[in-house]
Subunit: 290 residues, 2 copies
């Protein structure tokens, strides 16, 4: 047995942060639906789930929150807190799990697919992992239909600026590193194209000050909560053509290809018996491969 990392003392705080951020995001997205729809606006539906374990011991679980609206065609916000023991095949792959296979993980994951092709899709997630070590991971990225449209360039600049500001409050090296990591990560080699306009991506973040790292992750969440609803409001009233909608459905195919072929969280989750519905909540509601 090794002594627990300082992250172990932050479990309650991290878990509460992720749930609070979920509530703020859901409220912000529902407020946007209210503005668009007036009456009978869409609302999030929450579905709790439990992580099954082989011996029926407690393994944690989560709550999926999904809304299908007039602005948000499908938006999922998943919060989960799971714990247990890594199976032997995964112990070598997870930092600190070889020394002690027990783990605890809590996080939030958000994916928004929009009705209007002029409004970019967005993804955000952050998590805290505790084994015999502790660290944070996460990121956020924006996926406009056309990367080079002036509106998309402006939206991306807004999105990037929010994350830059969050990063710079903590470490001047974070933003350039995490932005480049995002561009490298969200790339489809078989298409030779990026998934979208980027954002930030980081993993195994452990500066040595766990409380400061959690504060950074909180600021990243606040940046997303600030920037994405603003971008949605800026674009949601724009009219679009059937051709743009068709192009959006094809572009979403690339999103599916990325998530199922390359996304480490998706593949790891599905292979380790994670909650399939919660993991694949990220897939777009309607897609075409013409």
């Amino acid at each position: 047995m090794t002594s627990p990392p300082p992250h172990a003392a932050l479990k309650e705080e991290a878990h509460a942060w992720f749930e609070g951020l979920r509530d703020s995001l859901c409220a912000a997205f529902e407020a946007i639906e209210d503005e668009q729809a007036g009456q009978a606006a869409a609302r999030f539906v929450r579905t709790p789930w439990q992580r099954p374990t082989e011996d029926a011991s407690p393994g944690g679980g989560g709550v999926m929150s999904v809304m299908k609206g007039a602005v948000f065609e499908k938006v999922g916000v998943n919060v989960s807190t799971v714990f247990g023991t890594f199976s032997p095949e995964f112990r070598g792959q997870i930092p600190g799990a070889a020394e002690d296979p027990r783990f605890w993980a809590s996080g939030i994951s958000v994916v928004a697919h929009m009705c209007n092709p002029r409004v970019p899709a967005a993804h955000f997630n952050t998590r805290m992992l505790v084994t015999s070590r502790g660290w944070f991971g996460g990121g956020g990225d924006l996926t406009p239909l056309r990367l080079d449209a002036p509106e998309a360039v402006a939206d991306a600049a807004d999105f990037h600026a929010a994350f830059r500001s969050a990063c710079e409050r903590h470490d001047p090296g974070y933003y350039p590193r995490f932005k480049e990591w995002c561009d490298r990560y969200f790339f489809l080699p078989h298409r030779d194209e990026p998934r979208g306009a980027g954002g930030i991506f980081f993993d195994q973040l452990d500066s040595g000050d766990a409380a400061a790292d959690l504060a950074f992750v909180e600021d990243a969440g606040r940046a997303f909560l600030d920037a994405f609803p603003r971008i949605v409001r800026r674009r949601m009233a724009e009219t679009w053509t059937p051709e743009e909608r068709e192009a959006l459905l094809v572009k979403r195919g690339r999103y599916v290809e990325f998530n199922l072929l390359y996304d480490r969280g998706t593949l790891f989750g599905l292979k380790t018996g994670g909650n399939t519905d919660a993991i694949l909540m990220s897939l777009p509601p309607e897609v075409r491969w013409p």
Copy 2:
């Protein structure tokens, strides 16, 4: 240098068989479109492609044939004949490539997604590989919307009987082995469900008589050419509800999940710089993850 396997002498014959089968299948599917549409029926559009090589040496290529019709919502028939030298990272994974990295491969791949939810989707492929060894691989499977519907059970029985008959002309052990292999291969562990109603699947088939193995592969192709058009004709005039169509689009999501998460041919092709459009021709034209 090792002496070439007997398959090397069959390259022309195998290549010609795959192209001839492509022509027969395209003609059979176009004839079905004629029966449904009367005038202005859909036709296959053929698109040739060449395999790029690092030093611009010849690497072969193929022809994609795609038809979007009133019965076949999207059907692709791809024939390719490619050759070259495996990169060092793949030499250990391919039988016979460690001894001599040169390879030659020819094959046909067919995927049909149907407009009518009462008509099952189908897949078929066969190929001959030549390294310092030689072998055949392939298979075919049927994907109805509802596995347990009496019509789906009858169609699957017809499909299975055709492959059984083809197998039994060659080796009494083939059918039970290849049917079981198919059930094991076309399975989605994260959904704990089969992709469809099965069929046959085989790989690295080398009985010691390459000409006999090619004759088996040809009979497997004839079985598909016989059974699938018959199944399509049996179901294509049935009426369906919007709910069935919606269920079909959701079922197709499972097809995408299988192909991008598990299908070895898809993953190997995309990782080895294969033709992305030809490989992902298998993806359904319209899909939902509600």
